[in-house]
């Protein structure tokens, strides 16, 4: 455990906060051994994973170490030591408690240089799909006609794959029942995103700007 006075004080405050939120029964159970405390690391969110993958892909595509270092030092994603540590944990790079930022930068750059080819290949494909799905999601929200929206989805090659369709539904918070075929998934997406919007407009008896333009 860290021996820094500051860390010890912070840890004590954390424990104090934790205990103050327990009921008297919960404290009693802990003292009597009928309950226990455990350490659970938070998983990084899917959103953060996507950002890390994108960041690593850009880094891997840089031509020189100097460019890589420059990008590493000047990006918004790694703006503090905690972010560096999270990225290292994501890459299974061991981090010592007192390790400074320069050392972490070296480790990250070393990892990227060693795995350059596979990063570009693997993440390149994945992120292309992710970016395409994000783009489709923003496009579908702008439609004011369900038939046109459905045709737009049908014509998109990325969405021929059912798992990509489900990813699109998830990014739009569209609820899907199990065992739907591709066409049914598309109809659900269009109904939930475009259909619901048109219903709302009809009830409120107002026109959207796009339909006026049309």
């Amino acid at each position: 455990m860290s021996k820094s006075k500051n860390d010890v004080l912070l840890a004590m405050r954390m424990f104090q906060d934790f205990f103050s939120r327990l009921s008297s029964i919960e404290v009693e159970n802990l003292l009597n051994g009928r309950a226990t405390i455990s350490y659970v690391e938070k998983k990084i969110s899917n959103d953060l994973k996507k950002k890390f993958d994108n960041f690593l892909l850009i880094l891997a595509k840089k031509d020189s170490r100097e460019e890589m270092l420059n990008y590493l030092k000047n990006n918004d994603l790694l703006d503090n030591r905690f972010a560096y540590t999270e990225l290292c944990n994501y890459l299974n790079i061991r981090v010592k408690s007192k390790e400074n930022l320069s050392s972490l930068e070296e480790k990250i750059l070393g990892y990227v240089e060693e795995n350059k080819q596979s990063l570009v290949q693997d993440f390149g494909e994945l992120l292309d799909v992710d970016n395409e799905i994000d783009y489709i999601a923003s496009e579908i929200e702008s439609f004011n006609n369900t038939e046109e929206a459905l045709n737009y989805l049908r014509q998109n090659k990325v969405l021929q794959n059912r798992s990509n369709l489900r990813l699109l539904a998830k990014s739009l918070n569209v609820y899907l029942q199990k065992d739907l075929n591709n066409e049914a998934i598309m109809e659900n997406i269009v109904e939930s995103v475009v259909g619901a919007k048109l219903r709302s407009l009809a009830i409120r008896n107002s026109k959207s700007k796009k339909s006026i333009e049309e």
Partner: protein
């Protein structure tokens, strides 16, 4: 002073729970809050007072129904001040927390349901001028009496019935803002659009009559939607379940103001709290899930304060 109506056509979405908890938390943050219960079910009233206390108020003619009765029977426009009650339990709790805020209440009555029918007979007239005058006079009654309380309160919270009758319209005309608690399901989301449309139509008609009247006696209204608060949300892995997230996203896509914070389902906590006269948000020994519910309510109030600048 800001007046906020809590409204939704659908019953059982948490209007009264939201009203009671918002009032309590605002008072905890040292605001002077007046709750007006316009729902004939009187649930907000019974969230703060027990039945015997309410019976006393009824005998003394200290409910909102009696206020409307004076108008209907004797054509008298009484002050609301005589109807105001300070519920003991919640205010004692606030004192124990060292809060300088308070929660006062104007109680409802089960017979308020008949008042709507009688009020409707006061609309209409033989000429356009009389129709306009009757309309404005009838719908602005609550607004005028609430305005008299400007110096006594920071916030007025009006718990509306699940309909759009005259009593509810009184509340909307009197309000600076309205909050819409809603369950994230198909029927509730349809109801939100209908409600907003009706309020816009009411505002349009009222303001048209004000302009035609061309008199200092009346002023235009502009009740703004403070937002939709999603209630009874089922949580899985820290987020609403997909079926509900679906409807939350749909409402957001319509451009309707929606609160970032939602309130999770907790039948035990919300079922029991009204019986003790202290809303969940003031529960002191909360832990685990109860603590999560309480902090969600606190965050909703923080959003309200930011959105409407209390």
């Amino acid at each position: 002073m800001k007046t906020i109506s809590v409204i939704n056509y659908k019953g059982g979405v948490g209007k009264t729970t939201i009203s009671a908890n918002i009032a309590a938390e605002l008072a905890f943050r040292d605001k002077r809050v007046l709750c007006i219960d316009l729902d004939a079910q009187a649930n907000l009233t019974f969230s703060f007072l027990n039945v015997s206390k309410w019976q006393e108020l009824d005998k003394k003619k200290k409910t909102i129904k009696h206020w409307y009765d004076e108008f209907l029977e004797n054509d008298r426009d009484l002050s609301l001040k005589s109807l105001i009650e300070s519920p003991e339990t919640i205010n004692n709790k606030l004192r124990a927390y060292k809060s300088t805020g308070k929660v006062d209440l104007i109680s409802s009555h089960l017979e308020l349901i008949n008042v709507d029918l009688e009020l409707a007979t006061r609309l209409g007239g033989t000429t356009d001028r009389i129709i306009r005058s009757n309309y404005l006079r009838l719908l602005s009654r609550l607004k005028r009496r609430i305005e008299e309380l400007q110096n006594d309160y920071d916030v007025v919270i009006v718990d509306c019935p699940p309909n759009f009758n005259i009593v509810t319209q009184n509340a909307i005309v009197a309000s600076d803002y309205y909050l819409v608690p809603a369950k994230p399901d198909y029927l509730s989301t349809l109801g939100i659009d209908q409600l907003i449309r009706h309020i816009e139509l009411l505002t349009g008609k009222y303001n048209k009559f004000v302009e035609e009247a061309n008199s200092d006696e009346w002023s235009v209204i502009d009740p703004d939607v403070a937002g939709v608060i999603f209630t009874m949300v089922q949580i899985y892995s820290g987020a609403p379940i997909s079926a509900q997230a679906n409807y939350i996203a749909q409402v957001k896509r319509t451009g309707t103001a929606t609160f970032n914070q939602f309130i999770r389902e907790n039948k035990t906590l919300f079922a029991v709290a009204p019986e003790y006269g202290v809303p969940v948000v003031l529960k002191e020994d909360a832990s685990g899930t109860y603590l999560q519910v309480r902090s969600e309510l606190e965050k909703v109030v923080t959003e309200i304060i930011q959105r409407i600048n209390i």
